[in-house]
């Protein structure tokens, strides 16, 4: 039986997107049929979800058939490399006649499975996203005070956020029996609105599994786990240094990333298990009983506000001072 894709497949309809992906991966038939007759819109969150979903279906040894995909979306999804590593049954993808160069707007779906790839990936993605935006000259000389040019100021918060999110996805997500989990990333700049959208999706253990032993998790529910993960200094292994000094996290990466989104006039949507949290308001269980094994994040920010973001303002407040004075030169 075909899975009918919703008309909007992205962060603003995360429940519907997750429900569709779950239906695709939960199917028992050897052929997963995806009916796109109602599909009108896909965003980078949706792109990354599709990447993860198609990967999971192929891991199951099943084939994928895509039906009734409009020519526009066919071109867009092909351009975003959604079908790049997917063996489809049937006609898709076909060659797109005239490929409009949207290299300034789009960052194709990227899959990472090695944390040593994170630095390069975060740099490349941030540079691609902002490097050729309107009025940006990557070769502009840096100003004398900050030693940064406009491109640097735009790219820095994005590279910071991507570095933290990708690192989380390739470390925390791999605990609890998911050592081979991967992470998918996609991005797009929407010129009309000035918004930059990122999608970061992993197929790992999810927040609940990662934090289930944390003393502050009062109820073992996905929603509580997401909210706890957003608290500063919460990590599954923050205090494990006593036993495992090689494996510690401060529990601040997700917090600072969420703050970056908000300070840049955007938001962060987090889906894990049966729950979602949107920093702009909506929070709670996914509707229709939808479930995502792993963590799926949509990060949105306003390009014009990015230069205002200062990393030091993203850090949680702290009162303590080290007992030994730091030596700065």
């Amino acid at each position: 039986m075909a899975v009918l894709m919703p008309s909007s497949f992205g962060a603003r309809s995360a429940s519907a997107a997750v429900a569709a992906c779950e239906a695709i991966t939960d199917g028992a038939e050897p052929l997963a049929v995806v009916d796109c007759s109602q599909l009108k819109y896909v965003d980078p969150f949706g792109i990354a979800m599709l990447g993860a979903t198609f990967h999971l279906v192929q891991l199951q040894g099943r084939q994928i058939q895509v039906l009734n995909l409009s020519a526009n979306l066919q071109g867009y999804l092909t351009r975003m490399d959604v079908f790049k590593d997917v063996k489809l049954v049937g006609d898709y993808p076909v060659a797109v006649g005239t490929r409009h160069d949207r290299s300034t707007d789009l960052v194709e779906l990227t899959c990472l499975d090695d944390k040593n790839q994170v630095d390069d990936a975060a740099f490349r993605l941030a540079k691609t996203i902002v490097g050729q935006l309107d009025g940006i000259d990557p070769n502009e000389p840096p100003d004398g005070m900050s030693c940064m040019n406009t491109a640097d100021r735009l790219a820095e918060p994005i590279q910071y956020a991507l570095s933290e999110l990708l690192e989380n996805a390739l470390t925390h997500a791999r605990r609890g029996g998911y050592p081979s989990s991967k992470v998918w990333v996609a991005s797009q700049y929407y010129r009309r609105s000035g918004a930059i959208h990122l999608g970061v999706v992993d197929d790992g253990c999810g927040f609940l599994r990662s934090l289930e032993a944390h003393p502050s998790l009062k109820h073992k529910r996905d929603h509580e786990a997401i909210l706890l993960a957003l608290q500063p200094r919460v990590s599954c292994n923050r205090d494990q240094w006593l036993n495992q000094p090689d494996s510690v996290n401060q529990g601040v990466g997700l917090t600072t990333t969420a703050r970056m989104a908000q300070k840049s006039g955007g938001r962060m949507v987090i889906v894990s298990g049966s729950a979602m949290h949107d920093t702009s308001g909506r929070t709670g269980g996914l509707s229709s009983g939808a479930y995502w094994q792993g963590v799926a994040i949509a990060l949105e920010c306003q390009r014009k506000r990015l230069p205002e973001v200062r990393i030091r303002e993203l850090l949680p407040p702290y009162d303590a001072k080290p007992p030994v004075a730091l030596r700065f030169e």
Binding site: K127, Q250, A320, V324, E329
Partner: protein, 102 residues
């Protein structure tokens, strides 16, 4: 004697991000410290994530205690990098002290 580490060599663009990069660098730091040296981290022209700084310096504090900061020097830090270092150091020193206070 001082051992100087130029972090720009590790940056991608202006950024150093990951714990994996910091963990590798920390091994060099441990060697320098074992030789009795002070270690200078030169942050000229780079920015760093909190994760990187925590893996580099936070882990040293948790293993050796806050006194290790007497042998670490942070050079040419931007305001952001300085804030991240101060945050990590304060947080991990506090954590160490609480764990070792009876």
């Amino acid at each position: 004697m001082r051992s100087e580490l130029f972090l720009a060599n590790l940056a991608r663009g202006r950024f150093i991000g990951t714990r994996a990069t910091a963990a590798t660098l920390r091994e060099q730091v441990e060697i320098a410290l074992a030789q009795g040296n002070e270690v200078v981290f030169d942050f000229s022209g780079v920015e760093a994530t909190q994760s990187f700084v925590d893996e580099l310096i936070g882990a040293l504090i948790l293993r050796r205690g806050p006194d290790i900061l007497n042998r670490l020097i942070f050079k040419s830090c931007s305001d952001d990098v300085r804030a991240v270092i101060e945050f990590v150091a304060a947080d991990r020193c506090d954590q160490y002290i609480k764990a070792n206070t009876h």
